[in-house]
Structure formats: structure tokens, C-alpha cells
Symmetry: C2
Subunit: 504 residues, 2 copies
């Protein structure tokens, strides 16, 4: 009974309020009718208005405050997603897709309330084609889940953002991570998507069931939805490229006297055509944190962690070339490992970076920035950023996918200290603008979400924003898909997003 | 004087006619005013209405009939392209971008007349960043031109469709070719585009001057324009990824008893992680044609041509793994070469395939089909296609980028024989539908152009066509950019493409 009253309290404002401007509207129906319609599609257990469930679906792993939806639905199939979307469309209710909640820019926050589509019950791995190196997954399937499923096939999906994220969520945010330098990001590894549009239409971006490795047929809808962060539709299936598991993997670590020498080594390793799969940079602060967290004794200097993928015989040569390049650039303490256990130990330091950073200030929270610049600009931006961190008394060890020019400050802050929060906010904006001034981007892999809406406009310019808004209006004229994100890219509300009540 | 009269004759219908429905409109100005406006932007030598120039710009290398524009303009800068586009937009004149005219699906045909933007005078290589592995080029720069420019840098641009095409044109058609199995297609290798939209707006798809290797910032406009075939805007600059020239390249050739065994070898080579850069299939008819054309003596059976890129030391191992795989699949006559001269001789057979096919029937024309299927379906589709060719008495040797599942029939036909033209037309449609029935695409790299408009609808389905039309309407509401191509994707004219006169 308490739950029921609570449900009514939380949902009473839902169907009476315009999903866009939050003013009352006489056009929409009653609470009961909407909830009942949802339940007729997904059953009682497929609809939740409980506060704990809603709060759980209003936040990701970032420091953005929780913005819970009014209702959470748990569809079990694309047909249910489509039917639920049609109800939302009819009642003009915002729709926010939710995978695993491992995003880092607040992309799942229900800024305008509305309905969260939690997709975890759609968890089938479908249509594995081993000979064709492709597989289709539902949105409840995670990266580790897929690789576990593939264990005995000799294949794997290499894109690795660190978190065990939903693969469809990774597509939605154009995720990448440590392996991108060799295998690319989600942009290069999604062959087809099934998407439910705002009005419930089911779209197959490359045509239903199609999975050629390349195509020139019509506009590239697949890559329009990859990185669209739920603002154009709900991804309900992704067809992905797979790769043969390399015969051999060798890892190495090397210390450098300066950021410049580590980056110079990176450029030369890439130019030499070494079969590098990961090339990760950790600054002295990060290495120090890793040493303390994992009881290690790496030299506290800029450091590269590397991984080579290829045939057993070629590994020795790859390692030799790399060692020679690093030595020529002043690198030292070069150590490499082939067996899985030693490799695992070596990479543990890198994988634990987030927790190592957190351990620097127990009780605090971590926030990861995410900029990407042309590789040659890395030394300057990292040096300037480190000076900025020191000047503003911010704890922010640096780790980065240096082969792509992408790096993160893992900022550890006390969220209850408004002064520190403000200093961190100002720092992250300065960092993003520094990247923009160096021909780079304010986000290499985390997405725009809530945190970078203003920065996007600075990055791409007004013409590109206008084009993006036009595309959004074309696909979602009522602005129901994850609203508040795209509209936040402009300071004014464009006319095509205004509903009748919004124009008052 | 003759030229002037001729000009008037050719252009007299131009500014008085609606660019979409070809009916007269009182809204637009006079001949003299439009031509004069063009000349005020690009000078007398930058505007041509001569019939030879117009005809040269109304065709590509396909068998589609020439559809000349009314005027050809030769802008020298993005500012000129923008100013010319504004004039066209004001007068509602169709605009068709033209690079080198090496397309294969009639994409440059001026179906509705209008203004051809020949971009050959914009031929600068701009902003080479060696350390960052990127370069920006204008649309007059060709693939070979860029690689010649890069000769002393240790870098190259590997996407190789065969023709010496304009790089911006390659972006517009999402081209690829022999190296795609290792280096990807244009989709994976364009970092940023400068585009002039229908109303003259200059758009930078990833923001002006930006060139990070990856980004998650907003919608992926770059890959919306890659493959848009001039229907959304005119590409005036492309920022491209470059690669280090591999230390060593080794080529090999191997004969097989069947298509199946050649394809099985391909799958196993890919799965073994061999550093393969090209893996090209030629059927028995193609090999026979090559033997005759180049005075060679390859066994007349299905054949693979391969190329490995990597370090010198690793080459021996790569070749050994490959030789073992091919031998296990019944391959024979395995021959490999490392020195440039022998490699050149070996690849000459593959590169001359087009001319070797043409030489089978002197005086005839060649037409290249272009389908792509998941690799496992290649044996079946190739066998069925060969039976179809024989049954219908069509000369069509097969060559393909088998690592991507992409192949071509190089059909040689007499264009003056209507019965043969009809047989070839029916054959190509059957071939495309065979690819569609096997989860594939009707075009892997040539694009939709004129030839495959109906097939695209079958491939992606009505929902995707509606979305594509919506995107087109959003970016080019007057349907002025290369008109007749996108609109041809539907049988009816959607309302948002109708101009005032079209609605009569």
C-alpha cells in the first residue's frame, strides 16, 4: 500500500505534464491509463515506479547528480520496446534508454522526467557467424558477457572501455578504450543496428539482417546512431565485427624521463608498423598511486604500458624494435612478459588506475575527464594540464590511450566541498578548451551527455550544431528521445522543438 | 560568336526552369543574369557552357548514358564554391559535384540539368602533419597525387580503388578497393570534411581544423557525408588518416581447385591474424583473360593474389603460415616475391584485369558490378553467378576483394546490341538480389548512383528509406544537390521535395 501511494506520488506529475517544457497540458491522459498501458505490454513486473528503482536508473558512474525518471520499464523484446515507445509517443513522454549505467557524462539523467527503458532483460547473443567474424547482440549483453560466450570459438570482440558496459550502450556513446589503436572504436566495429525510433518504428540501419563487412548503399545510418547517446532512438540490437584471438600477446612496460620522450616513442612505434594493440600512458602521479595501491615499485616517472598482438614468432622482433625505440628516447627499466600470469600482474596496475586514484583520498569521489588531441600535441597539453592541476590544488593523476592522443585526468574530489567542486569544474572546462585550441576534441570516448553540451558548440561551430539539430528534428520532431541533451547544445530553444504548450 | 550563340542555346532553358520538375517558373531570373553572376565569382575562364565541356562532365566511367549539365563552373576556393552555391540556391538550380569522373554508377549524371561544380582547380595538399599521421586535401587532389606528394615522408594513404580518383570524390562514394581488408575504407579513414551545403553554408563536419583520431562529440556528421554521393553537399576539403609505409611488402599468388578452397583459405588466413594487406580473388575466366592480355601462364583455375605488409623479419613467417593454409586447402603453384620489380610484375595481372576483360571482346565496353556478402557466402554466390553468366551467354570474368566478401563481374558487352544490354541488365539485378538474399549489399564500394536506386530500397527497407529522405530534406529541402539520385530511392515524390511549381 505504501508502495502504491509512493508510486502515485512519483507518477502523478507524469502524464499531466508536457515532456518538454514541464507545463501542464490537457492533451495527455491519466496516470492510471499510461501505467496500465505499459503493464499491458510488459506485465506487472516489467513496469516499476519504486523510488529505489527509479533512482538507480537516474545516474551513471559520473559525479552528475541523480535525475530519476518517473517510470522504469523492462521490455523483453523489440516488439515490446516498440509498443512502449508508441504509448510514450502518443502521450508525449520522454524516453531514456538505459544499458548498464556505466556512462561517465550523465547521459542517462532524466532531465525532463519521463520513462526509462532499462534493456537488461534483452540479453541474448544472436546469430553468431564464426566464419564471417560477426555476431548480433541484444542490449543486455555486455562486453565481458559476449567474450565469455565466444570463449571456445577462437574469436573475440576487442573494444574495451574498461567497464563491463552493454555493447549497445557502447555503440550509443561511441565508446573505445585501450585497444582502439589497433582495432578501432565502436564506429569501426558496428555493422548494423536495430533501432526503435521515437514513434515506435523499428529501423534497421543497414537493412534487416544485413552484415556485409563494407557497403556503399545509401546514407550511413549505422554511424549516425553510433554516438547519438539515445537522442535519436533506442538501440535494440547491434551486429558487431569480431576478430581472431591473436596467437600470442606480449606486454611490456617502460619508464621515461619526460612526457615528450614517452610520446616521441609512441609516434615512432606507430610509424614502424609494430603490431601494437595497446599503448597506455601513465604520468608520475598515476604511477605513484598505482605503486601505493598495488604495492609495486615502478619508477615514479612518465610510463608506457604496451601490448603486442600477433604470431608467437613475430613477438620477439616486435618487442626488440619497441625496446630499441624506447631506449633511443631515453626510456629505461624496459620489462616485458609473455605468460598470462605475468602479463595479468603487469596490466593490473593500469586496470586498477581508477581505484588507485580513489585511494589517494579515501571517502572522495572520482571524475574522469576525456579529451583527445593530435598525438604531436600531447606533450604540451599534458605538461600544461599538470601545471594547472598543481596550481589549483587538484588531485588528478593522468592516464591515457596515447596511441590515439586520448587521455583522462582521474580527478579525486570531495563532492561536499563546493569550492573544490567549482575548482574542478573550471579546470575541466579549461582542459577541454586547451584540447580544442590544439585541433582536438572535448571528448574522445565518453560522449557529450550532460557535462559537455556547451563545449560541443565551441568544438563544432554553429553550422554543425544547426545540422545536428536538423537531423534530430527529422528523426524525433517531438524531442522525446533523451531530451535535454541535444537541445542543450544550443542556448535558445529552436522553433522546431517547441510543442504547443512550449510556445506559450 | 558561335560559342556565344551555342552557350545561349544550351543555357536558354536553364534559368527559366524549375530544377526539380522541369516546368517553367516565373521566380527565376534570366540567362544572362545567372551566367554573369557565375562569372563575377569565378571569372570568364571559370564558367563554361561549351558542349564538349558539358558532355565531358555528364558521364563517368560506367555505361550509363551521358547526362550533361547546363553549365560547368570551375571554382578555385571554398569561398567561390559557397558563392556559386548561393546563386544556384537563389535560382533553384541543381548542383552536381565532379571530381575526376572515375565513378562507376553514373553518379555525376545531371538528371535535371543544372550546374556541374568541377573541382579540379582546387588541387592543394594542405596541412600535412607527419607526426600525427594526417593530411588535409582539396578535391582536385587524387590518390596517386597525394602519395606522390608524400613520397619522402615515410607515410602513405593506402585506400586504393584502382582508378586515380579524387580523394574527396572517394569520400563522397565511400570508396575502398584492394587494401580495405587491412586499412579500411574511406569510412574509417576520413577524420573531417569541409562541405558546402545547398544554401552555400560552409560546414566542417567535425569542427573547423579538428583532427583528433577519435571523437565522441555529437552526431557523426563526417560519416553522414562519406558515401552521400553529392546529394547532401559539395565536399571541398577532406582530412585523412595516413599510415607509415611498411618496412617490407611481400606478394604471393596461389591457384586453387575450387572457389570454395580459395575462400576457405581466405577465412583461415584472416583468422590466423596474418598481416595481410590485400587478398584478391580471380576466377578461371579472369585468369585466362589476364594470361592472354599479359602473356602469362598462370593455371586457369580460381586464384588468390596476396600482399603482406610488415617488418622484413616477420615476412617469412607470414608467407609460411599462408603457404601452409593454402596447401591444406588444396592450393598449388604457390609463388611469392619480395623485390619491387617481381611484385610489380605479379600484381600487373590483377591491376590490368579491366583491360584484360575488355580485350576479350575488342570494340565492346566494360561494366563492373559490385556486390558484397558475408565471406562464408562467397563460394555459393560466385558459383551461382558463374552459372548465370554461362546460361545467359554473358562475358563476365570475376575479380574480388575476397577478404571483405566484395567482388565484381567485369562484364564486357556491346552497347549497341539492345538484347545483350537487356540480358546484362537483368543479370546484374539478379546478382544484386542474390547478394541481398545472402545478408549482403548491392554495392560494396561503387555506390548507388543511377544504377542501383531501386535496389537500395529492397536492401534497406522502407523505414530506412524514409529516414534517409528525412535527412536529405533536413539538409537540402529544395532538393538541389545532385537531384534525381536520392529521390529515385522512392517510387513516389515525397511532399517535402515538392517546390511550389511541383505541386501544381
Amino acid at each position: 500500500m505504501i508502495l502504491f501511494r509512493q508510486a502515485l506520488r512519483f507518477t502523478s506529475r507524469l502524464p499531466f505534464i508536457c515532456g518538454r517544457c514541464r507545463t501542464y497540458s490537457a492533451q495527455v491522459g491519466s496516470v492510471e491509463r499510461v501505467i496500465s498501458a505499459f503493464r499491458s505490454v510488459s506485465g506487472d513486473e516489467g513496469v516499476s515506479v519504486g523510488s529505489a528503482v527509479r533512482e538507480q536508473h537516474g545516474r551513471d558512474e559520473s559525479v552528475h547528480i541523480c535525475r530519476p525518471p518517473d517510470v522504469v520499464v523492462f521490455p523483453r523484446s523489440v516488439e515490446e520496446v516498440s509498443a512502449l515507445a508508441k504509448i510514450c509517443h502518443h502521450h508525449q513522454l520522454p524516453m531514456i534508454p538505459f544499458g548498464t549505467g556505466t556512462g561517465l557524462e550523465g547521459g542517462v539523467g532524466a532531465l525532463k522526467g519521463g520513462v526509462c527503458f532499462s534493456l537488461r532483460k534483452m540479453e541474448q547473443v544472436l546469430d553468431l557467424h564464426q566464419e564471417d567474424f560477426d555476431v548480433t547482440v541484444e542490449p543486455g549483453v555486455t562486453r565481458k558477457g559476449l567474450n565469455s560466450y565466444l570463449r571456445d570459438t577462437g574469436l573475440w570482440f576487442p573494444v574495451d572501455p574498461g567497464a563491463d558496459a552493454s555493447l549497445c550502450g557502447m555503440a550509443a556513446t561511441s565508446a573505445s578504450g585501450t585497444n582502439a589503436v589497433r582495432y578501432g572504436t565502436m564506429r569501426e566495429n558496428v555493422l548494423n543496428l536495430e533501432v526503435v525510433l521515437a514513434d515506435g518504428t523499428v529501423l534497421h540501419t543497414a537493412g534487416k539482417g544485413r552484415r556485409p563487412r563494407k557497403t556503399s548503399a545509401g546514407y550511413n545510418l549505422t554511424n549516425l546512431f553510433v554516438g547519438s547517446e539515445g537522442t535519436l532512438g533506442i538501440i535494440t540490437k547491434a551486429t558487431l565485427r569480431l576478430y581472431g584471438i591473436p596467437e600470442s600477446m606480449v606486454s611490456a612496460v617502460c619508464s621515461f624521463p619526460s612526457v615528450q620522450s614517452a610520446v616521441d616513442s609512441t609516434v615512432q612505434i606507430l610509424q614502424a608498423g609494430v603490431s601494437i594493440a595497446r599503448i597506455e600512458f601513465l604520468d608520475d602521479v598515476m604511477i605513484n598511486a598505482c605503486n601505493r595501491f598495488n604495492n609495486l615499485s615502478y619508477a615514479v616517472t612518465p610510463t608506457l604500458f604496451l601490448e603486442f598482438h600477433g604470431s608467437s614468432k613475430s613477438m620477439q622482433e616486435q618487442v626488440s624494435i619497441t625496446e630499441e625505440i624506447t631506449r633511443d628516447n631515453g626510456g629505461s627499466d624496459f620489462a616485458w612478459a609473455e605468460d598470462e600470469e605475468t602479463r595479468g600482474r603487469l596490466w593490473k596496475a593500469r586496470h586498477d588506475a581508477w581505484y588507485a586514484a580513489l585511494a589517494l583520498r579515501p571517502g572522495c569521489k572520482a571524475y574522469s575527464t576525456d579529451v583527445c588531441v593530435p598525438i604531436s600535441r600531447l606533450p604540451q597539453i599534458i605538461v600544461e594540464t599538470k601545471e594547472d592541476l598543481i596550481r589549483n590544488n587538484i588531485t588528478g593523476p593522468i592516464a591515457g590511450h596515447v596511441g590515439d592522443g586520448n587521455f583522462h585526468c582521474l580527478i579525486v574530489l570531495d563532492p561536499n566541498d563546493p569550492d573544490e567542486v567549482q575548482r574542478v569544474h573550471s579546470f575541466t572546462e579549461r582542459l577541454a578548451r586547451r584540447a580544442l585550441a590544439m585541433d582536438g576534441t572535448c571528448t574522445g570516448e565518453h560522449g557529450i551527455g550532460l557535462g559537455k553540451r556547451a563545449l560541443l558548440r565551441e568544438e563544432v561551430g554553429p553550422s554543425a550544431i544547426e545540422v545536428m539539430l536538423g537531423l534530430k528534428a527529422s528523426l524525433d520532431p517531438k524531442n522525446l528521445m533523451n531530451p535535454g541533451k541535444v537541445k542543450g547544445w544550443v542556448s535558445r530553444v529552436p522553433s522546431h522543438f517547441r510543442s504547443p504548450c512550449c510556445t506559450r
